[in-house]
Symmetry: none
Subunit: 200 residues, 4 copies
Amino acid sequence: MAKKVDKEQRQAELLESAVAVFAERGYQATTMDEIAERAGVSKGMLYIYFKNKEALFGAVFRWFGQQIGELMVDAIGDIEDEVEQIRRITTLWAEVAIQQREFVPLFLDFWAAASLRGMRNDYAEDLATMYDEYRTLIIGIIERGQAKGTFRAETDARAIAYLLVGGMDGIFIQSWLAQPEHLDQLMQNAIEMLLQGITT
Amino acid sequence: MAKKVDKEQRQAELLESAVAVFAERGYQATTMDEIAERAGVSKGMLYIYFKNKEALFGAVFRWFGQQIGELMVDAIGDIEDEVEQIRRITTLWAEVAIQQREFVPLFLDFWAAASLRGMRNDYAEDLATMYDEYRTLIIGIIERGQAKGTFRAETDARAIAYLLVGGMDGIFIQSWLAQPEHLDQLMQNAIEMLLQGITT
Amino acid sequence: MAKKVDKEQRQAELLESAVAVFAERGYQATTMDEIAERAGVSKGMLYIYFKNKEALFGAVFRWFGQQIGELMVDAIGDIEDEVEQIRRITTLWAEVAIQQREFVPLFLDFWAAASLRGMRNDYAEDLATMYDEYRTLIIGIIERGQAKGTFRAETDARAIAYLLVGGMDGIFIQSWLAQPEHLDQLMQNAIEMLLQGITT
Amino acid sequence: MAKKVDKEQRQAELLESAVAVFAERGYQATTMDEIAERAGVSKGMLYIYFKNKEALFGAVFRWFGQQIGELMVDAIGDIEDEVEQIRRITTLWAEVAIQQREFVPLFLDFWAAASLRGMRNDYAEDLATMYDEYRTLIIGIIERGQAKGTFRAETDARAIAYLLVGGMDGIFIQSWLAQPEHLDQLMQNAIEMLLQGITT
DNA sequence: GATGAATGAGAGTTCATTCAT
DNA sequence: TATGAATGAACTCTCATTCAT
């Protein structure tokens, strides 16, 4: 009886349009008109599904984090060896950095948004949580590797997790700016040297 | 002839105010009124010293890059040992990340700005140049270390430079979000493990 | 769907208000606020219907040109005799100059606008086209008159058109400045003498 | 003892610079900075010689009117025949319109300025006076011609003056817009036909 | 006298958000 | 339910004018 398009699907469509426009223009330069137009709905519609522009951005933001988290978990799902798992995650990151190049500005916007606006928003918290999950994933790998004897016992798993997650983010940015020819090789080499430092 | 203060000093004052407000509010949320008020001058004054808001932001940006570059060069100036030089740079970064915590949002804004607005701006280029200099500095250290036999000959100096510079940026962000208790220790540990992988 | 009034009517209303304010104050001194207030709408509304102030002025300008063109064509519509047609056009001009006195400044602004701003605007072109049409109308009358033998064969129709159109414009301005008591009589006399020069 | 440059000469220099810039940019777009720079003096200097921007424009305006008036008087100075005098004035106008093409926008600005700002300014009055002088000059010619029998007794000298002055102004504008190839010929033809109508 | 740094009121323009239909 | 016309606060930027030096 009600409209055919169910709410969830509609929301997903709006989100998709928002992602595209935010990535193209950046948060500030993006107008609600543009998102509505891209989604093929009225502007008023956006305000039914999302409280305001910032909430829409927040939704995009969380959706993205989820996607990446899933990718990471998938990437290591069927691999036993911990060293290989670290390698896979790195490779995944390089792939994303290369293939999804157009979303880098979006990430930078996420970070910028998270760093501001004081206590009002919860971006910072969301982002922190998101990264915490990534680090926890890596810490788990390292610790399992240590239990097996693959990684040195004295390795500071938390430090490695920070360096890896941070490093990959940094390389993300750097690659966007510098566009090195063999980014994937570069990242792989970097990780190998780090692995050399922590494997037995 | 001039009225009160000399032009260079006045420009520096305005820059200082701009840095403070941009760091507090972010580029977009910052108004020229606010900067002028903070500097204790009229709004029109800003437009005498800087063509427009973006140019002012650009000036802040370049000033920052210069500061950090100088800090890095100073930090390793009187040190002979290459391993120690790497450690010093890392320590410096940690110090900056901790002590200048309020400027992290500014950097995120720099990146966000650099990633957008197409070909119009030259932030991206400036930023790329800046990071290239940092990397060149590190590559120089590694290569000198390799010549001395401190670092393994097969070490990919460029990859290390990317990981270090990117990694430090990443840790910068991560530390801002997560506020780990012993960030400096964490970074030091991470670097030690990496050094273990590349020293002979 | 639409809120209250239909778009075309709304546009016409805004145009009307704009005409009034532009005529009163001149292009530069007119503010968008003032136009909006006169129209009883918000300032933002103006920007929905017209891209910017200049575009609004351009619309006013074209609307005016159209009105006058129509008046001229109407004025000679049901008249056979060419001499009489010339007289009618002159009379019309005098009527407009007298009755629509408040719009003279607007015309002067059109001209001033057309003469400036380099290639960016197309006022000059629009204005040239508009006047070309008026001249073509007059040339047509003269030539038909020549074919009939009413006007001398050696009459330079184009020169007459220039003198008439230019002359009327000039008289327009002059009358605004000097406010002669019997402008219509004056113009009629002038035209009669010119007609004496070109009729057989 | 005092400065070498005497006040009058200085004022004339400033005026000259102002004329050039106003003609290039139009009244509104012209900045006091630009005039000062062109004159090679400080901005403050301008305000010593002219009360404000409008006063400067007014001075330019009156200076121009004077120049043209002198040109007209000179043009007919040594000519006896009234018909020829009319022809000379027309020729002069054509010459000015062609050779001083860059000043047309300035005139349009004069007119626009004169037509606005209510009672505040005296442009309108100045302009009216100026044109009145031109017309008086022409009326004088016509009347002398009538006295001699060159022009028909029933000719309305005032109407002719209006048509001529207005017509020439109009042609001025038209020529600026349309840039006809043989403007001088065109104007001459027009005047000849008019003369045919009024000569015996 | 002469300067030009400094002012600040005021303009055009944008766009997130609302709400009558 | 869905729309998109309408709002208006807020922003950037300009420039005539002043006045301390």
